[in-house]
């Protein structure tokens, strides 16, 4: 992107106006989602995938590392959540931490092998590890249930000591996911705008230059990958709760490809919010196009090609560019669009 970022203090904030607007809008979703012909479960799925895509984008967008096997960590998180519930303790907080930690551990292990690699070699190493984890999940059916899935995972109650909330109802669970989503977004926003995040972004620009400046590139590459895997695992744990089960399919190369597509279609390479935009477009387009034809992948593929050819910066990038042109003339604007897409240049 060649557009110069407008001066903005958002980078230093814990909560930006864009976040507030987004959260408020999302908080009202259960009130109207049924009226537009959708259903709360779809809302849950969109939130979880948004969290997953944001975590993935720490690697792809922020650090510029092509990881094509990220589904593995999402899946490991889901299994970790279920297995913790069955074998360790049926406590929501413990099991969510387990999902985060186990996926992070798997990510750290992989990071050990790949962080000194670049480009195509890096990309294929992530694919290879993704395939290894996926195969192991199917093979170890004594633990994971194999292709039958790890079933009967419960939505454990959210126990705060003073009060405990039952999450079995989809609307209650939606709000629970929303709160976690909000917290994770704040954390990721701070992270990308911290000194650490700026070094990672510098590595994206040029690994060699960052190394010459004295940064230990390996440590940064390994740590951001580990962190991204851990947050993906957290999203996976939530997904296991949503589905009441965990299946190996989310770990396949196919599904790992989806999160790459969502992130790029949305504009993850140029905007913090790109992955979220992509998830909304992808999941809703799948439903709408899927209504008209079983060959929805054909049309989505064509849309994807068109985006790569004509709007390689993705939807968020395009909207942001369009808005900035607009605002250069108007020299003002406080609309939600600016808040969502144009307000925070983050690179």
């Amino acid at each position: 992107m060649t557009i110069t970022p407008p001066p903005s203090s958002d980078a230093t904030r814990l909560v930006t106006p864009a976040m507030l607007v987004l959260w408020l809008v999302l908080a009202t979703v259960p009130l109207w989602i049924a009226k537009v012909g959708l259903y709360p479960y779809l809302g849950i799925e969109i939130l979880i995938w948004s969290l997953y895509a944001l975590a993935f984008n720490l690697v792809l967008g922020t650090a510029g590392l092509p990881s094509f096997g990220h589904g593995a960590y999402f899946g490991i998180g889901a299994y970790a959540f279920g297995l913790c519930q069955f074998n360790v303790v049926a406590n929501l907080w413990v099991c969510l931490v387990a999902a985060f930690a186990v996926a992070g551990l798997a990510g750290a292990l992989v990071a050990l092998f790949i962080s000194h690699r670049r480009g195509i070699y890096y990309a294929f190493m992530t694919i290879a590890f993704g395939q290894i984890f996926w195969t192991l999940a199917i093979k170890s059916h004594g633990i994971t249930g194999g292709e039958d899935g790890l079933l009967k995972i419960a939505r454990l109650p959210a126990d705060f000591g003073v009060a405990s909330f039952n999450l079995n109802d989809n609307v209650a669970f939606y709000y629970f996911v929303l709160v976690l989503f909000a917290l994770a977004v704040m954390a990721m926003w701070r992270l990308t705008h911290s000194p650490y995040g700026r070094v990672v972004a510098a590595i994206k620009q040029s690994e060699t230059r960052a190394a010459h400046l004295g940064y230990n590139v390996w440590i940064y590459k390994a740590s951001i990958f580990t962190l991204s895997a851990a947050i993906s695992g957290l999203a996976g744990g939530l997904f296991a709760m949503a589905q009441l089960a965990a299946f190996p399919d989310v770990m396949s190369l196919h599904q790992s490809g989806y999160v790459v597509m969502m992130t790029l279609v949305g504009g993850g390479l140029v905007s913090f919010w790109g992955p979220v935009v992509g998830v909304f477009v992808f999941l809703i387009a799948r439903d709408v196009i899927g209504a008209l034809t079983n060959a929805w992948m054909l049309y989505f593929g064509l849309l994807f090609i068109a985006i790569v050819l004509f709007r390689p910066e993705g939807i968020a990038g395009a909207v942001s560019a369009a808005f900035q042109k607009h605002s250069l003339i108007r020299r003002q604007g406080n609309s939600a669009m600016r808040l969502l897409f144009g307000g925070e240049r983050w690179r």
């Binding site: 690699r117 480009g119 195509i120 992948m297 064509l302 090609i305």
Partner: protein, 306 residues
């Protein structure tokens, strides 16, 4: 030891097939520094076109159909080996035209574009031919089995391995021993020089891409009688192709061939002695090699590792 020999032989023939599958992918990666994820779909398309030509309803006008069926099966097969890849080459031209917009940008965009193309081709295959699977007819001379060392071997497999050797040889000759090859290689390393020499770089890239496409289609036709023809076969091919290239190292012709053989041996031998790990073994092989060698076996410096 005598137990081991058949499996070594099997691994070698399998390896040659992997090398053939990776060949078109390698050309495009090595000479254009673009990752063509549509490689597998073009591979599948080759098989489907061939199946259509060899089937009971070839896509010709009525008079030509008569002539076509008057030819013996062997002739028809030979003609199919030319016509189907040429038709797939046209699809390759279309993809290359789209790809031009991504040249000079991050190679990620070329990869994504071809990923989209792969989705579109696979879905189109589903729409046109349905989800069922097909069998590609081959001439009697190369089908069936023969007895060797008390074991029945597939004749077709050795025919396919032989074809692989021949095609690998021809491609090597074209790249190393012709002026076209010299220009192409120069273009890959330094497009400035090629331009200065007054060579049309646009046309050169188109030619390389089409050559890669045609090779993908030929591989599809050769492998189809072994794997069967179904929409998913493209994905089954592109992952090993990608793996072979990364293992061999970007830009290394013999690296890819050796990597193909290694993968074949690895899958073949583990299939016999640790069967449940046979498919995973190739990934483990890759991790083992790339952990210690930054550019696979004999990879060269490339923009693909920026």
């Amino acid at each position: 030891m005598f137990d081991l020999l058949p499996h070594l032989l099997n691994g070698l023939t399998l390896g040659l097939l992997f090398a053939l599958i990776a060949l078109g992918f390698m050309l495009i990666v090595g000479l254009m520094e673009q990752i063509n994820l549509a490689h597998g779909s073009l591979f599948a398309l080759g098989a489907y076109f061939a199946m259509q030509l060899m089937g009971s309803r070839p896509p010709f006008p009525a008079e030509l159909v008569k002539v076509w069926f008057a030819m013996p099966l062997g002739w028809r097969y030979a003609a199919t080996l030319v016509i189907a890849p040429a038709a797939v080459g046209l699809v390759g031209i279309a993809i290359e035209f789209c790809m031009r917009r991504t040249y000079g940008k991050d190679p990620l965009y070329g990869l994504l574009l071809t990923f989209g193309a792969a989705m579109v081709i696979e879905e189109t295959i589903r729409l046109v031919w349905g989800t069922r699977d097909y069998v590609l007819q081959v001439p009697q001379a190369v089908s069936g089995g023969f007895l060797f060392g008390d074991l029945i071997w597939s004749t077709y497999r050795f025919y396919a391995a032989g074809i692989s050797v021949a095609i690998i040889g021809v491609v090597w000759l074209v790249i190393e021993k012709t002026s076209f090859g010299a220009t192409v290689k120069a273009g890959a390393h330094d497009s400035e020089i090629v331009r200065a020499l007054g060579i049309n770089l646009t046309r050169l890239r188109l030619l390389v891409f089409v050559l890669g496409t045609v090779l993908a289609a030929i591989a599809g036709i050769i492998v189809a009688p072994i794997w069967g023809i179904r929409p998913h076969m493209g994905v089954d091919a592109v992952i090993p192709a990608f793996l072979v290239i990364v293992l061999g190292g970007v830009g290394s012709f013999w690296g890819a061939v050796v990597a193909g053989l290694l993968v074949g041996l690895c899958v073949g031998l583990s299939g016999a002695y640790a069967s449940e790990w046979s498919l995973l073994s190739m990934y483990i092989l890759l991790v083992a090699v790339v952990t210690f060698r930054a550019r696979g076996l004999w990879g060269k410096k490339s923009v693909l590792e920026a």
